[in-house]
Symmetry: C2
Subunit: 399 residues, 2 copies
């Protein structure tokens, strides 16, 4: 970003993404992520070959069965029916096919949901530490992004802070459980209290505050924990999901927005979401992915393996002296930087060919994030580097 | 749309789409388009099996060659290089790879381009008769849509009307050549004059008016005509393209935005377009499509066959007494409704199991649009229906 932005909108968006864009474009990671011998834990990208069943499904369903095979595709009735059935089975809630909106990923689902419900002047609350792009998406929708910090010890929602942040202009709140980057699954008690806060405020405001529930990691759960969808506790809730995490195929974009049957606004949200998907750029999954959906819906990467990688890294790093947070779900392990400046520490790690995400980029200064999508060999190869970096950081600190 | 819109934004978008949404959801076409025996000329959808080479390319490239095969994908360098090379060859203009932005279709390309350059309060000009969604996309970007009618006799741009519509708030103009629905290719002389109008106004305004050149049909050209890209005549121009027309696969979304080397704003547009693609919902083509691009770039439906269908329909309809416009490109044939109300006439045609698009939906009352993506058998089957509908309309008119 060396030159003047072309519009105020883009300037506003760029302002929310400064540290992330810098990391993605100019950091040591940006220059060396593809180098041989590097252990890259920075992003939730695959480090093993794709699931064979995923590739086979694409291959199989590439064969056209009729003239309409690759014709205009939006939320196909077969996709809607399958997703509704899956949600009914997973959550014992009577989701209806007409309330499923197939999107090209969760990114598009959030953009479309905001485009449907938010007007300029509205406020949208997001929780810090956040996913990189919430603030940018809120600003892009013309609304004001209101940051509310999670509890710094438990990473649970800070309900008092949320209540205090709500104004008469609050139109929505974005919640992410299981949470990236903290790995926290919000407990039912928290979600109940959140619902009370939102219901009270909605009544006071005379219009609903919508809960956008980003459930991208809802099928990446450890220790046989139970995941409660925040949408089960509050009526004005939209469930947002992507297959990109569960299948670890973020380059093939498919997800959905689902309106639970308890949503009082279903009638007016249906046309709104459809129009919002059109104007955000025809944000529907490609025809091929929807043809393949019956083969993909039940598919998943090996969660037990992911958990073993979590446990191996956690045990090894803790044994070295790192503070490591044990995630309840998601791809991510959060560790404390042994020195205050996590960006400096990640550069020290980078010298050991180990790349992690500096906490500063997800508004968690003093931490760093490790993606468990690393492969076993990478993990073993990286451990000495973690050890050396810790020693080096300690000695630099001591200077 | 039976209930109150959920936001002012959606209300504004819905207001631009009234007749189109009605046609797509409640017309005779909406209810009967899939019935056997129907001749459906309403949309540019396929009525023959997909190109075998298209399906084969998807199948072939579904086999992952490395761990990153389905990883996060944006504008891949291989795609950018290939598109830049193609544009250099087609237009003898030195397009650079770094100025190619791969999008999931032209819909997304327009949305992203507007998101990059337009601020609330800006005005964007579009030409009537327009593609259905220009106005909705402009409104969704927070700008004011300014309609300028094309010349009603020649369907060429009305340069005086464009000049008169420009204000100090004008930020962009969307041009579509070859034009849907008129089939017009704007001649070089028009494009030169347009450039003069825009350059003069940009200078007066102290900021550029961007030309968004929607070239979705640039490879669907009849009679060995030459297509001149409007971007060759005016520096502040963005070239927007989709493969969905040339391949007749609108359900597999891939297109691009290209900045010509003459664009003075390339430096600041590059980051702006990238950010705009992010916040419109990660609007990049899926990984598989980009892997397959080398096989798809040179592929095309049979344009000579499309032209034969154009000629067969034009000759037959003219022989019956219809006024038919001979298109220079695109999928569409424009005919005059024999009665003033084209919506009534399309219902009369529908009784004959012939479905066309009423002109009213593309701001061309008194006309109807026939898609040449129909197959030969459908065309022959439909001709008696066109004949009977013409007679019926004439006798109703006479009553």
């Amino acid at each position: 970003m060396t030159t003047e932005p072309v519009s105020r909108r883009i300037a506003g968006i760029a302002a929310t993404l400064g540290p992330a864009l810098q990391f993605f474009t100019t950091s040591a990671w940006a220059h060396h992520q593809g180098d041989p011998g590097v252990a890259d834990f920075a992003l939730g990208n695959p480090h093993e070959m794709p699931l064979p069943a995923f590739a086979n499904a694409l291959k199989h369903w590439s064969a056209p069965q009729n003239k309409d095979w690759f014709a205009y595709t939006n939320s196909e009735p077969t996709s809607q029916a399958l997703v509704a059935q899956t949600l009914r089975e997973r959550y014992s809630v009577a989701f209806e096919a007409q309330d499923i909106f197939m999107t090209n990923g969760a990114f598009a689902a959030i953009a479309a949901a905001l485009a449907a419900i938010v007007d300029p002047g509205d406020q949208v609350i997001f929780i810090s530490p956040p996913w990189f792009f919430y603030e940018a998406l809120i600003v892009s929708a013309g609304a004001q992004a209101v940051r509310v910090s999670a509890d710094s010890l438990t990473f649970d929602l800070d309900l008092d802070a949320i209540a205090a942040a709500i104004t008469e202009r609050t139109r929505a709140i974005i919640i992410n459980s299981p949470n990236n980057p903290t790995g926290r699954i919000y407990p039912p008690e928290t979600l109940k209290q959140l619902a009370t806060v939102l219901s009270t405020a909605s009544e006071r405001n005379g219009r609903p505050i919508y809960l956008l529930s980003d459930e991208a990691y809802s099928r990446i759960i450890f220790d046989d924990r139970h995941f409660d969808s925040p949408t089960a506790f509050y009526p004005y809730a939209l469930l947002l999901y992507t297959y990109g995490k569960t299948l670890l195929t973020p380059g093939q974009r498919m997800g959905f927005i689902a309106l639970p049957p308890s949503m009082p606004d279903r009638e007016r949200l249906r046309p709104a979401l459809f129009l919002a998907q059109l104007v955000t750029g025809y944000a529907f999954p490609n025809a091929l992915l929807q043809h393949a959906l019956p083969d993909l819906e039940g598919l998943s990467i090996d969660i037990a393996h992911l958990q073993r990688k979590r446990d191996r890294l956690t045990a090894a790093l803790r044994a070295m002296g790192y503070w490591v947070n044990l995630p309840e779900g998601t791809f991510y392990l959060l560790a404390r930087s042994p020195i205050a400046d996590d960006q400096v520490f990640t550069e020290i790690l980078a010298e050991q060919n180990v790349f992690v995400l500096p906490g500063a980029i997800v508004e968690l200064p003093g931490y760093f994030r490790i993606s468990l999508t690393a492969n076993d060999e990478m993990i073993e190869r990286a451990l000495p580097g973690f050890q050396i970096a810790l020693q080096r950081a300690s000695s630099e600190e001591a200077l």
